[in-house]
């Protein structure tokens, strides 16, 4: 086993810990986003162009996912930190890498489930300590312990996956017939739909659903960038708010 592989695997393990420990509410998750992971691994391996390309492509699949109430539909960092290094190493193209990432993203969300289950014990421990007037235990249970748990739960498997996967994956990829590969590729383009449907399901009051359709077809018919829709959407939302406020004052 070459040191390059080890080094990258170590980085990926640690980085997976960093981006799943949730240390820093909006920060932790962001650090594990495929586009950033792609850039970092690109720098580390000296394959910046490839890293950006694969990371960016992968990002498209995960950028719309939201986690209401602690549901993690798919783990972007698990996908990124396994699929990108393998792709960089084996020279997979961006499309195939996206396909490869899918199962790891799903496996990653399983780790979250485990973490959220075990974490319960720390809350219970904190509660008991407070009962015993051992007040300092609160912060300890809220930080150090769950972080250690996360390290074991996430860093280790990603490290191992990085070491074991390449050969496995390579032979697997060779074994998959072209049509199935294409099928998985199609699935890659379709999967973000789940995230969006979920978000609509979560956010969406029935009476506002037409705004989803409007947003969708503005992009389809006018080829406006997402930011444009965000601007117009903000204006419409503000107008709704202001005019309703005005009405309720009268």
């Amino acid at each position: 086993m070459d040191t390059g592989l080890l080094l990258v695997a170590a980085f990926c393990g640690i980085w997976q810990f960093v981006s799943t420990t949730d240390f820093g509410y909006t920060l932790s998750d962001t650090l594990g986003q495929p586009v950033l992971v792609g850039a970092l691994l690109g720098i580390i391996t000296g394959q910046i162009e490839q890293g950006l390309l694969i990371g960016g492509s992968l990002e498209l699949m995960y950028l719309g996912i939201i986690y209401p109430g602690g549901t993690v539909p798919a783990c972007a960092s698990s996908a990124a930190l396994v699929a990108i290094p393998i792709a960089l190493r084996t020279g997979l193209d961006a499309h195939a890498a996206t396909v490869l990432a899918v199962p790891f993203g799903i496996l990653g969300s399983v780790l979250w489930n485990i973490k959220y289950s075990i974490n319960s014990t720390f809350t219970i421990r904190a509660e008991k300590s407070v009962e015993k007037k051992d007040f300092n235990a609160v912060t300890r249970n809220a930080s150090v312990y769950p972080m250690i748990l996360t390290f074991v739960l996430t860093a280790v498997p990603i490290f191992l996956a990085n070491i074991l996967a390449p050969t496995l994956v390579e032979s697997m990829i060779n074994a998959i017939p072209a049509w199935a590969m294409h099928g998985i590729e199609v699935a890659g383009g379709v999967l973000p739909a789940i995230g969006f449907a979920l978000a609509v399901y979560t956010i969406g009051k029935k009476e506002f659903l037409p705004f989803f359709v409007i947003g969708y077809f503005i992009v389809i018919y006018f080829e406006v960038a997402t930011m444009g829709v965000a601007i117009f959407g903000t204006c419409i939302a503000l107008l709704y708010l202001f005019l309703k406020n005005k009405e309720s004052e009268a």
């Binding site: 509410y25 209401p68 904190a126 912060t139 379709v190 978000a199 969708y216 503005i218």
Partner: protein, 275 residues
């Protein structure tokens, strides 16, 4: 407000500290049955110690904040601010404010604010920053990829602002806000924005076309996709999302099952050369 300032025990530094503990630990100890109760408690700890020198009061206060809690952490830190102001008041006039009242307010606010925050912060701000960075990265711009950091940066400061706001508004303002129906209108407005964003993101990032077609004698082959595009472009992805949405409406949000279903369906359709 004015008459109380001379009695203020909570300093700006306390608020800043409380917010930081919240920002950094918020989800670290997240668990299925209690979600953010532990991190909420931890974030208030230092301030509570200051307010309740008596160990029994302090203990009671900590227990109070170990109750179930969950909200969106950025916008939601307004609740931390309010709680601080309430606890401060309670520590001075213990009879005026009951612990139940504080709990009620927290749990009353956490739901609607989670809706607002999930929509604005995670459903709008985050994908915008990510899309920006991704577009740049895909055009081979290394710096661009680091633009993702705009999101945590903005998130941190929005949260800080909300926390301070909550403290200075206190419970009265919030009470009025809810009564006046303003909260509902804000949620509605966020819903509008969020749904438009999801629509736009769906159109940009979900892709599905069919390769199915047939050939009549003496004619060019007819591609189903061309016909669909004639009806309306983007029809298939739209139908797919609508399908998933209505499936969830009926059967609940089984992410895993739907995901598996889609992958299998894709492979099967690919086998029959339909996609």
């Amino acid at each position: 407000m004015a008459e109380n300032t001379n009695e203020r025990k909570i300093t700006n530094k306390d608020i800043f500290q409380a917010y930081n503990k919240w920002y950094w630990l918020c989800e670290v100890s997240h668990c299925y049955d209690r979600l953010q109760s532990l991190s909420f408690c931890a974030s208030q700890q230092n301030a509570l110690r200051k307010l309740y020198p008596n160990d029994d009061d302090y203990q009671e206060a900590l227990q109070r904040h170990l109750q179930f809690f969950n909200t969106e952490g950025t916008i939601g830190s307004v609740i931390h601010g309010i709680t601080l102001s309430l606890e401060e008041e309670k520590s001075m006039n213990p009879d005026d404010i009951s612990g139940e009242m504080i709990i009620a307010l927290k749990t009353g606010l956490m739901g609607p604010i989670a809706g607002i925050g999930d929509t604005l912060i995670w459903g709008t701000l985050k994908p915008i920053c990510l899309a920006l960075a991704t577009t740049m990265a895909l055009s081979n711009n290394l710096i661009g990829a680091f633009f993702v950091l705009l999101f945590p940066l903005a998130g941190y400061f929005i949260g800080l602002y909300m926390c301070k706001l909550g403290y200075s508004l206190g419970r009265n303002a919030i009470g009025k806000l809810i009564q006046s129906g303003l909260m509902n209108r804000i949620i509605d407005a966020c819903s509008i924005l969020g749904l438009m964003m999801m629509g736009a993101l769906s159109a940009s990032y979900v892709s599905l076309t069919t390769t199915a077609g047939f050939k009549l004698e003496n004619s060019d082959p007819i591609l189903l996709q061309n016909i669909l595009d004639g009806i309306m472009p983007g029809l298939l992805p739209f139908a797919l999302i609508a399908g998933i949405y209505f499936y969830m409406k009926k059967k609940g949000t089984k992410y895993g099952g739907i995901l598996l279903g889609i992958i299998i369906a894709s492979i099967v359709l690919a086998f029959f050369d339909i996609v």
